[in-house]
């Protein structure tokens, strides 16, 4: 997927977010040095191509009372993982769901789902719902809680 210099300049201009001014796309246009209509057209195009997932807000689960955010990891039969991954992704308490490689023998898990609960009991109860959904196709699972944020910054590209 190619990214031309103007797209790149638009991305660089919005790395910290969309400007909080009445005409944000005009503000980006001024910064990049192109017309507002072109900025809007390029945003629409990047959305269509999937370079931008969406334009919107990312809520902080922790600040909203979801204090027990567990990374649940599952050892799921390879031939069933796509079907089951899609179903887990639709659960309303799962915010991310990915297939990742195993690293045997240390790490047998190939399906990751982030589960958000107000406390660990709630997160565990939700993980139990996933366990029931997976049934015999899941050999083992664990919940990893974060105990400390060591670093948190956004994605960075250089101008």
């Amino acid at each position: 997927m190619s990214m031309d210099a103007i797209d790149r300049a638009i991305i660089f201009a919005t790395q910290e977010g969309l400007p909080l001014v009445p005409q944000p796309y005009h503000a980006v246009a001024e910064q990049v040095g192109i017309k507002p209509d072109e900025v809007m057209a390029r945003f629409r195009n990047m959305l269509e191509r999937g370079v931008i997932r969406r334009i919107g807000a990312v809520p902080n689960h922790y600040a909203l009372g979801y204090k027990a955010n567990g990374m649940t990891v599952w050892d799921v039969a390879d031939e069933r993982i796509d079907e089951l991954g899609e179903r887990i992704g639709q659960l309303d308490f799962v915010s991310h769901c990915y297939q990742r490689p195993r690293h045997l023998p240390d790490w047998p898990y190939n399906l990751f789902a982030m589960v958000h609960g107000h406390d660990r009991a709630e997160t565990e109860q939700k993980a139990q719902q996933i366990a029931e959904l997976l049934g015999k196709d899941c050999r083992a699972h664990e919940i990893l809680y974060s105990t400390r944020i060591l670093k948190k910054t956004g994605l960075r590209i250089t101008g």
Partner: protein
């Protein structure tokens, strides 16, 4: 404290923000408030860290870069030294301590796939511990749905 307008804003803004000349005015109208009030509320939700971001959410791999989740197993008495090495790398976006034998988990984002391999190699070299690289093989559809 958040009020019902804040909650409405959080719920509404998780979906697609409009692309038009005056998008905040358009959303304000849907929420029954003014453009100025909406802008002030978004600013405050960001300042208070109720929102971690507002704007376009980019898809790193489709920008041609590298993105991966990696984990390491670090002895407790060496944890801080390793955390310091990892945290000072600009390629590392997030780093979390987790309660598991694999006790350090971080996300790497680089401008090129080769940059990712270089960063992983540098971490192994500088820390002296192996890195478990877990790039996503597949992403399953997740709906936007955190309702407050």
């Amino acid at each position: 404290m958040m009020d019902s307008l804040d909650r409405g804003i959080i719920n509404h803004l998780q979906g697609g923000f409009p692309i038009c000349a005056n998008p905040y005015a358009k959303v304000a109208k849907q929420l029954g408030t003014s453009e100025g009030e909406l802008l002030a509320r978004i600013r405050k939700l960001l300042d208070d860290k109720v929102l971690t971001r507002f704007g376009p959410l980019y898809h790193a791999e489709r920008l041609g870069g590298g993105l991966s989740l990696a984990a390491m197993k670090i002895p407790p008495n060496d944890f801080d030294r390793v955390a310091e090495i990892i945290n000072r790398m600009p390629e590392v976006a997030h780093n979390y301590a987790r309660d598991h034998a694999l006790n350090m988990w971080f996300v790497l984002a680089t401008e090129t796939p080769q940059g990712l391999q270089n960063a992983l190699g540098a971490i192994e070299h500088e820390t002296g511990y192996p890195v478990f690289n877990m790039p996503k093989v597949k992403e399953y559809f997740v709906e936007l749905k955190l309702q407050v």
